[in-house]
Amino acid sequence: MHYLITIAILEVLELAFSYRTRKGLLPILENINFKVNGMEFVSIIGPSGCGKSTLLRIIAGLEKPLKGKVILMGEEVREPSPKISMIFQDLALFPWLTALENVELALLHKKLPKNLRKQIARKWLELVGLAGFEDYYPGELSGGMRQRVAIARALAADPIVLLMDEPFRGLDSITAEGLRYEIHNLIFNEESSVKSVVMVSHNLEEVVELSDRVIILGGRPAKVIADVRIDLPRPRTPRDQEFQDYLDKLYTLLSSSRLG
């Protein structure tokens, strides 16, 4: 085991959440506790519909939990803020804004002069490898490029925590593989303010490739049933036996979570 001196960037404490339905409250999440440390990439996996995305929205402050709280660097998260930025499942790029303008959205709150704002946005597009595509509309870009715009926008907000909701879902496997290969460096780039990442995913290979830790949710309402540390050197490749072992372990845990 590693014993590093680590500070918790993000803490999720005693979290519970229920949907209001016609038949009363339907509990979704119950007693969720975990910490995310600095420079840590944490993935959340679990059966479909178990509340992973909801958990992510609660962390972002977009949804209020029924019980418990989310703490960012010692302060409770009460409302959404650029400090916790998010890449959405369908990216949520505004189709009527260009790539550059989409990135600028994340900078508006800083009230910078227009030129500086454009300059910073341009820098981020360059960092994600989209130099020259500033004036293209999302509809004119390929899936992988749109993904990069979304990453640039999320990072431009100078977040402490980056949340990703199935970020590679809409991509073909080759594009996804290429982007996965780059993303760790992109996020923990020296320009980036990101200290921790929380990702929700269905794809176990991508989870093992990217994560330092995997949190497995299961049961109804969902609880944390396992917390697995992935101790593999980067870059990781699925061809390694150890990689496969981790994959098997997660499969087993996930299958048992369905029963539980």
């Binding site: 916790i84 930025s85 804004l97 303008e101 508006l108």
Partner: protein, 540 residues
């Protein structure tokens, strides 16, 4: 008092019956037409062109002419009754027809193939497939048609030509006569009765009708992602004009879109298409004239034509000047509607509590025809503000208020539905990045709802003209209150029974309104729409 209540009740029922009758006719005719039209490329183009021309012209501008034609050719009461019905028909039909056409058009091919496999006859297909397929969208459009129809029927129930006042008995004429006679108590009572009945119909009858119609909905494509949040307005309820424009838009995108080749096979040649459209437009003008000639004494016609041209040459400047004043009013109304709708929609989109409280209020307010309560508002405003502002200004205020109340709903509905259709993640992005009120409106709300806003604009302009029609020339207790404006002048000539001048002033109005709607509005709308729709359509 009991008498008045009973009369108001019966009058309301009669008015509703008229509206429903025209809607029923529109539904039947539309069903047959759209069944025929979807089978042929050429007929389809003719159909769409006609409908899009008719729907972009404010019907109300034709009313004086239609009235004169009907009344001079048919015995008194019948002429007015038919003119009223005709007017309602032109107000309620187009959105229903387009809804039916689109429902059939978007019917999956597999249905047609299935019916071939089972050897269904046309009648069987009609009953088992076509009618059910059109039900959901027809029903939701009936709601709008009902509101629009009610608006116009209350306008058209009372017509004064020279010394004769033609009354079609109905709630519009009943309230009007009560106000004219100064019986305010009874008129308020009648309004309350009308309001209650409208409420009952919209909230109970239509709501259950819509619930019933939902079972005929066929999901053509997975839309669940956008439909996660509850909708109060059924999807199509809000977009009577949107449908038409979306078709026009589809044609536009087809010519512009990158995968053009995919569509080219199915399309008519563009020159042929344009030729067809122009000839249809001409036919629309010529055919009614030809049909009308047998009833016409040529000598009198030429004599009248001469008189009209004479009058036009003498008074054209005056007509044009008054037209400009009315145009100014319409522009102001449209502008105010846009601004107020933006603010209201913003509040509703960002604050669920406001949305919950406002929606039913808006639904109810929008479904009460303005003409029914306008006289009341006018009297109240004159009494309360008359001394402070002066009569002239108060009258102007009344006109603007009435036009606003007649038309603001279109923008509001369209904008609201446009905004509600935005993925909720877009709002999340704004929240996370702490966008200000100004930025949320500029970056998200306005561009996001843009296609819906511009499609709502056509209806808004039409509605604004209707609003002017009912308020520029008020007769209250034998006194005429009017503001300068072409619409007011027309009402004045109708009251005088001056047919020649009605026709010549109408022609100025009609020609300019047609020119405006075809050449200015439509162009403006198409260009704006292409900017916003294409980009958004490509993303998903």
């Amino acid at each position: 008092m009991l008498d008045a209540i009973l009369t108001a009740f019966i009058a309301s029922l009669l008015t509703f019956a008229r509206v429903f009758l025209t809607i029923l006719i529109a539904i039947i005719v539309g069903l047959v037409l759209s069944c025929i039209v979807v089978r042929s490329r050429i007929l389809e183009t003719i159909f769409l062109t006609c409908v899009s021309i008719f729907e972009s012209i404010p019907v109300i501008t034709f009313f004086p002419v239609i009235l004169i034609i009907f009344i001079s050719n048919l015995p008194g009461g019948l002429g007015v009754e038919l003119a009223a019905l005709f007017l309602i028909f032109t107000a309620v039909a187009w959105n229903i027809w387009i809804a039916q056409y689109e429902s059939l058009k978007s019917l999956p091919k597999s249905f047609e193939e299935l019916s071939k496999m089972f050897n269904l006859s046309f009648l069987q297909k009609f009953i088992k497939i076509y009618i059910p397929a059109t039900i959901p969208r027809t029903v939701s459009n009936v709601m709008i048609s009902f509101a629009v129809g009610l608006f116009y029927i209350t306008v058209s129930e009372v017509v004064t030509i020279s010394t004769t006042t033609y009354n079609v008995f109905g709630i519009g004429s009943y309230i009007y006569n009560l106000v004219v006679a100064g019986k305010y108590m009874e008129s308020i009572l009648s309004m309350i009765i009308l309001l209650t009945l409208v409420l009952l119909i919209t909230q109970i009858f239509f709501k259950s009708l819509i619930t019933w119609s939902q079972k005929f909905t066929y999901q053509h494509y997975p839309e669940a992602r956008l439909r996660r949040w509850r909708f109060r307005f059924p999807r199509t309820y809000t977009s009577p004009r949107m449908s038409i424009s979306s078709i026009v838009m589809n044609r536009l995108t087809r010519t512009l879109s990158l995968n053009k080749a995919k569509f080219r096979k199915k399309k008519l040649h563009p020159h042929l298409l344009r030729l067809l459209k122009i000839s249809i437009t001409l036919m629309l003008i010529i055919v009614p004239l030809i049909l009308y000639t047998p009833y016409l004494n040529i000598d009198i016609f030429l004599q009248n034509l001469h008189l009209i041209i004479n009058d036009l040459s003498r008074n054209f400047i005056k007509y044009f000047y008054l037209l400009l004043i009315d145009l100014g009013r319409v522009s102001i109304i449209v502008l105010i509607s846009l601004v107020s709708s933006t603010l209201i929609v913003y509040l509703m989109a960002t604050k669920p509590k406001v949305e919950k409280a406002l929606l039913p209020i808006i639904e109810v307010l929008a479904s009460i025809p303005v003409p029914a309560y306008l006289p009341m508002i006018a009297v109240l405003m004159m009494i309360s503000l008359g001394k402070i502002l002066g009569l002239r200004l108060v009258l102007e205020l009344i006109v603007l208020t009435s036009a606003y109340l007649s038309t603001a709903w279109y923008v509001l509905y369209n904008m609201y539905s446009g905004v509600k259709n935005l993925p909720r993640e877009f709002w999340y992005v704004c929240k996370i990045n702490k966008l200000t009120f100004y930025h949320k409106i500029r970056k998200l709300l306005i561009p996001g709802a843009m296609p819906a806003i511009v499609t709502g604009l056509i209806s808004t302009v039409g509605g604004a003209w209707g609003g002017l029609q009912i308020s520029e020339y008020l007769i209250i207790q034998d006194k005429v209150y009017s503001v300068p404006g072409l619409v007011a002048l027309l009402s004045h000539y109708i009251t005088l029974g001056d047919t020649i001048r009605v026709l010549s002033a109408s022609s100025v109005l009609i020609i300019f309104v047609i020119i405006l709607s075809i050449f200015v509005w439509r162009r403006l709308l198409n260009s704006t729409r292409s900017k916003y729709r294409i980009e958004s359509s490509m993303l998903y």
